[in-house]
Symmetry: C2
Subunit: 676 residues, 2 copies
């Protein structure tokens, strides 16, 4: 096939390396009986050159903090990445490639962060990788601004990503690319694999926009390269040009051919997402003069040539360590700060934590804002932001300047009205070594960024999603802005912690927990409306906040348990008082984080929810789903079963029956139910 | 203020009308103590002209099928719309404007479909409206192609929308706008309220892309108009130009000023989302020579002038009815079809429904594909499609051609890799009179379109979301593509029906139900992998499918209930057989649609789930949340508590303990638990 097209910038040996990458991809997909061979076949020449000639990395230390980052946004082409990792000498043996897509292998269907050395982020759901890359580019700029000193450029890496049509069609990539242009992220280089084919057929079925014009509209450089993916001389020049930029991110739009070299399937969607078939692979191998009967072949000269990456990488990192040592010597304070950041050590000054007067009601979003104001100035490795709801989310602190083209040391990111982009960008920041991001929007708009939240959970990125306006308490904005099912929708995501604090003091404890937690992402649900402040003197059990649920009002042999979260804790406290006046002993439980509570031992759990007490009421201004687990067969639930309504929030609570009276009635009903 | 800028195209009387719109918005927001006055103030002149001079509608019949559609994508500016509706003579009295944002009023914080006459779609969550408008434009094109005959153009309406920066920043608008350009929807006119202000401050904080260039890249016309929102002569020309297009959608980019006329808050984000304050409003009224002490004033001449809309509308519709009558006479078949469509009548030819051999396993996605193939050719008012997963979703039928620039009668929409866009576009089709849309993607990517699903549910749009690849049964694609929490995430959305059929025959019944259901949106969860076909002769209770759950294997005084959905019904059936061999009577229940089951009467519910039987096992390849309600305190659940893994699907089921043996063990455990 290469004979019919012009190849530039690749020697015979280079071409054999390229061919090896292609055959490894074809063979692995064939062995797995599933996967995507076409993309690696088309992109192999450019990817080969990128890794061998342009990117700086050390296969022996895939976590080297100044490595160039590579993001395969088109994650379905995972065999391209696995082939490169293997051939470049990362700890990914050929046997793992043979076990592509098998349970327990290091080569899952789509790249998974934390699972395979050299995989920087989890990709597959389209549009996420390129958006993560924008976050990585922000992170590099911030790290460079904070730590580089004079000639000691300890952070000067670039971010490279390969994106297909699919990534560029997804809205999240539009959002993040627009922001990347706005921020002038010249350290970001996107290679667009323009192969004209999608699953349904030709991209022209649904995608005829001028991508270059669109990206130029975003403020990017766009370099268009023809040559059927084999004009590597031009590609190399384009990469060099892109690396030399100082104003704009660059897209290299590369016309390629999916399934390149396949006599029957090149340029067809057949090559996209299924094995080519044994016969076709044989035909291709024959046409390149390879032994058609052999699979997973890595010619010795290819092996030797590409293994040079290891020496090159070691040398790069050695030189770097020298620079780093000198830098650390000259900048001991910064060096300590960076080291602490890399180890996830935090110094929260307890003396600065806000306190709240129990006499003055406070919205938990405001308490959160006070906490942010109190601690963030002392935590320079946390980058804040909001999707254009700063005054509502209370995410800003006064020392924070905006991260901008001309202010790379700014710690506050104005994401714009781009929730999904924000989520994916935050994930990119979260994997960038010592940094940690938080970003705000309304709880109901968690829906807009759900795919990013899911990936954060799956990949254990320590991203902090600050959601405010957490119920019908939103009031007048109405049902479109009032979450009713959103809290439940977050609780069901594995490995995500969801917090709904009951007052200002719980909010402070929540933030302390979050800042010290490194296990994965967290989400908050904070009120718009003011809530009473729970007096710590009156409710000493709040010390058990970190256990996810605790007894706020204890009873000896309680008649009924009243369970609530967030703003509804006020309701159950009042109900308990009234019930007490009637001689009913109601134990009140605040349940700010179910996920943490589920991890407690049986003894603690039954101290909070005594098994003998079957009369229970769960109260939450959200849907019932999930609550049955806590209230049991005899329990009652006071909450929402429909969408909300536009009106003053107190009227909304009344309308939907979230009242003290309803809690009391439910308690009595449940008690009667138990007696039956 | 107008004195300082040049006004064109508006008379003194026109200006007074414009001012009335502004003051109604200011007064209503002030009375409600919340809302968004700034956008109506800036956009009033253009919106006034649009409604008075360009749009064709009849206030007396807001459902006239050939009315021009108006979508306020920037839904927070709802008072602009309510003011226009009131002044143009829709059934929205001034008293309702005075009750803006109060419970039970016709003027909720954001426009709600079905709630206020003249509101075409629910907007507020940004980016949705403009995307709905793309769906409406597709619908108009299809209806015109199908029904217009010669001079009888019974569908020749246009779609107008006002979008702000926020809408254009949201990824969903990028997706739908790109598709609109691709499809050459010349009937779509977007007015971009370019006011340079967002909640955080100036748009330049986060949004500096060249919107015009981006839209031209999508294949749109873009007309840029300065004049501070008051060069209405230019605006009028632009609208006329846009209406005359025959190749491309048009964006009219209008430089406006948020909070126009407010001495202290114009061009500031203070004017965006909060009342201006009594004093400021007085100042503004004074500056325009209005009585500062009076609110909600509609001058008699304004009232009279704008009420002309009613006569004009009546005349337009009368003329139309004449044309329609002639058309109906000449085209009785089409007229009947259209009438049936408007009434939601469907003629499903039962003789064509597919049947399945119980000996041959079939994936439910394939069964769904067969059903689509069987019925859709006879249902010309249903438009299908997929977000670039047609061969996987089995959503195509062979008679369907692609809806395209040169094929407006095509019934299959190639949405591209744009799930969110697809969801919002389908919602726009769903509100377009007689049409109904269905569209496919993987279940896990329901997350990408969740905001559109939520709005469909809230607004009762009859959109059909076809989700396939519904569990770890996806296999090798791995955890990024395996839903575990997604089914639960759909079930918790109020007013959405979620179906997970257990086999091919349940799938046929599901589709019959869906096609006859008009209450709102539905979502399906269909398998990638083959499942045994349940023999209708052996399982006659399947006739109760429409009740949401039914007894597949009945027992007299069962020892245990085994409950499952979808692919896990196979597991519980096998477990029941093995338990029977051990003398344990296990009643097997298939639960394809929880929402329908919840609506059944107590007698039916307890016939399926006898209250006396506390030993219960729920089995589903998803998270537990929601199941506790069915299995109760003594129940056990066999399902997922983590994300999935990449591997052959059978190995995945094994790895995560979704096996017959696990079901049997859980059954025994629950039975033991009951005895305790």
């Amino acid at each position: 096939m290469e004979k019919t097209i012009k190849v530039t910038g690749l020697s015979e040996l280079d071409l054999q390396c390229v061919q090896t990458i292609r055959f490894l991809a074809m063979d692995a997909v064939q062995a797995a009986k599933s996967g995507h061979p076409g993309m690696p076949m088309g992109m192999a020449p450019a990817a080969y050159s990128l890794w061998m000639r342009h990117m700086r990395f050390n296969p022996a230390d895939p976590k080297w903090i100044n490595r160039d980052r590579f993001v395969l946004s088109a994650g379905h082409g995972s065999m391209l990445l696995y082939s490169l990792l293997h051939l470049c000498g990362f700890d990914l043996p050929l046997d793992e490639l043979k076990r592509f897509r098998q349970l327990g292998s290091k080569t899952p269907g789509h790249p998974e962060f934390g699972h395979t050395p050299g995989v920087e982020v989890t990709t597959g759901p389209l549009g996420q990788g390129i958006s993560n890359a924008v976050g990585m580019a922000i992170a590099q700029k911030y790290l460079a601004a904070r730590y580089n000193q004079g000639d000691h450029k300890i952070f000067d890496y670039k971010i490279f990503t390969i994106s297909g049509d699919g990534c560029l069609e997804e809205g999240v990539s539009h959002e993040s690319s627009s922001l990347a242009g706005h921020l002038g992220l010249d350290n970001l280089i996107v290679i667009y694999d323009d192969n004209h084919i999608t699953i349904d057929g030709k991209t022209s079925l649904s995608f005829s926009e001028e991508v270059a014009k669109r990206y130029r509209g975003y403020g990017w450089n766009v370099i268009e390269i023809g040559g059927d993916g084999h004009d590597i001389a031009a590609f190399d020049k384009a990469v060099e040009y892109a690396k030399a930029q100082s104003e704009r991110p660059t897209m290299i739009k590369l016309r390629t051919h999916i399934g390149f070299g396949s006599p029957n399937f090149q340029d067809t969607h057949t090559a996209h997402g299924a094995p080519l078939g044994v016969d076709e692979i044989k035909l291709i191998k024959q046409s390149y003069g390879w032994d058609p009967e052999k699979s997973f072949v890595v010619p010795a000269e290819v092996s030797k040539h590409m293994a040079q990456c290891r020496q090159k990488g070691q040398a790069l990192q050695s030189d770097y360590q020298e620079t780093f040592k000198q830098w650390a010597k000259s900048n001991p304070g910064l060096a300590r700060e960076l080291q602490d950041g890399l180890e996830g050590k935090l110094a929260i000054d307890e003396s600065k934590l806000p306190t709240f007067d129990p006499a003055t009601p406070v919205a938990t979003r405001s308490a959160s804002g006070k906490m942010i104001q109190a601690v963030m100035p002392g935590l320079p490795l946390i980058l804040g932001g909001s999707a254009d709801l700063t005054p509502s989310n209370n995410t800003h602190f006064k020392e924070a300047t905006d991260f901008a083209k001309d202010n790379r040391g700014g710690r506050y990111i104005r994401y714009g009205v781009r929730e999904h982009g924000m989520g994916a960008i935050m994930n990119g920041i979260a994997v960038s070594g010592p940094l940690r991001p938080y970003g705000g929007t309304f709880l109901v708009f968690a829906d807009y960024m759900r795919p990013a939240i899911r990936l954060a959970a799956m990949s254990h990125y320590p991203t902090i999603f600050v959601f405010t306006h957490d119920s019908i308490g939103v009031g007048e904005d109405g049902p479109t802005h009032q979450p009713v099912e959103t809290l439940a929708s977050l609780r069901i995501i594995p490995d995500l912690l969801t917090f709904r604090p009951a007052d200002a003091n719980e909010t402070v404890r929540m933030w302390k927990y979050i800042l010290n937690y490194k296990g994965g992402p967290v989400a908050t649900a904070l009120t718009r409306q003011n809530l009473p402040v729970l007096d710590p003197a009156k409710y000493p059990n709040m010390k058990n906040f970190d256990k996810g649920a605790y007894v706020l009002v204890a009873q000896d042999k309680p008649d009924v348990l009243l369970l609530a979260t967030g703003s509804e804790v006020e309701l159950v406290l009042k109900a308990a008082e009234k019930l007490a006046a009637e001689g009913v002993k109601a134990q009140v439980v605040s349940m700010p984080c179910w996920e943490l509570f589920k991890k407690q031992d049986a003894a603690y759990m039954s101290s909070v929810l005594p098994q003998a007490v079957k009369a229970r009421v769960g109260v939450e201004a959200g849907v019932r789903d999930g609550w049955d687990r806590w209230i049991g067969d005899a329990g009652r639930f006071v909450g929402m079963s429909t969408f909300g309504a536009s009106g003053p929030y107190k009227a909304c609570f009344e309308k939907f029956g979230l009242t003290v009276e309803a809690v009391i009635a439910a308690a009595k009903d449940s008690m009667a139910n138990v007696k039956k």
